[in-house]
């Protein structure tokens, strides 16, 4: 399914159904944060990593 079609389908859900999805997304965000998985490398460290790989 294309992204616009999926968005239209999600937008057409009832508010209650959308809130349930929001709660799942929120819980997933929390779990990712709690697991320390949301570590974004700085530009400098990403460049250094690339140089190391060469």
């Amino acid at each position: 399914m294309s992204k616009p079609k999926l968005q239209a389908r999600l937008a057409a859900l009832s508010f209650s159904e959308k809130i349930k999805i929001l709660e799942k997304l929120r819980d997933r965000e929390k779990a990712i944060e709690a697991a320390g998985m949301r570590r974004q490398p700085s530009i400098q460290s990403a460049v250094a990593e690339k140089k190391r790989q060469r």
Partner: protein, 173 residues
């Protein structure tokens, strides 16, 4: 969310707050596909503060703490949602609370700002995430352009909208 809204409605029934309306990302979700957010923004008017210059949110916090609410940074956790209570900061936000639409979440009645007010407030606030939200409204054709135009005119935001269009929508429409 159901438990959160029931507590807020009880707070209104008890006269702690006057009108309220959901704004922010949760409010936008009423009109758009859901996008991740961790908090609920609730704009409130306080009962009996007409003409008073200094108003305080402490009655809200006292009420919620007495019902198990826990303060967490700028939020108070009600039910399982961190809620940020906001007083309308200008005529646009006052109008947004006044004109909010009724809906229900799992059978609980609540009020959500109109799509056009959400767009206008996002435009006024102007952070990257606000611009991104406006673009979602545009892409999903989820607002009435004529109604938005009236609101922008009324609140002096038309020039800012033109800038936004130049920056983000040129070649799109």
């Amino acid at each position: 969310m159901k438990a959160t809204l029931e507590v807020i409605n009880q707070m209104q029934a008890d006269g702690i707050i006057g009108n309220y309306a959901i704004g922010g990302a949760v409010g936008a979700t009423f009109y758009l596909a859901p996008a991740a957010t961790v908090d609920l923004d609730v704009f409130v008017t306080l009962a009996g503060t007409g003409g008073t210059l200094l108003v305080s949110l402490s009655p809200i916090y006292e009420f919620l703490k007495s019902r198990g609410g826990k303060a967490q940074d700028e939020y108070i956790v009600v039910g399982d949602w961190p809620v940020q209570f906001l007083l309308p900061s200008d005529a646009l936000e006052e109008e947004a609370v006044r004109d909010a639409v009724f809906t229900t979440v799992e059978g609980v009645v609540t009020r959500v700002m109109t799509a056009e007010h959400l767009v206008a407030i996002a435009l006024k606030t102007g952070r990257a995430k606000d611009h991104s939200r406006i673009l979602q409204f545009v892409e999903q054709a989820a607002y009435d352009p004529a109604r938005l135009s009236e609101i922008l005119d009324r609140h002096g935001l038309s020039a800012k909208w033109t800038q936004f269009e130049h920056r983000f929508l040129e070649g799109e429409q």
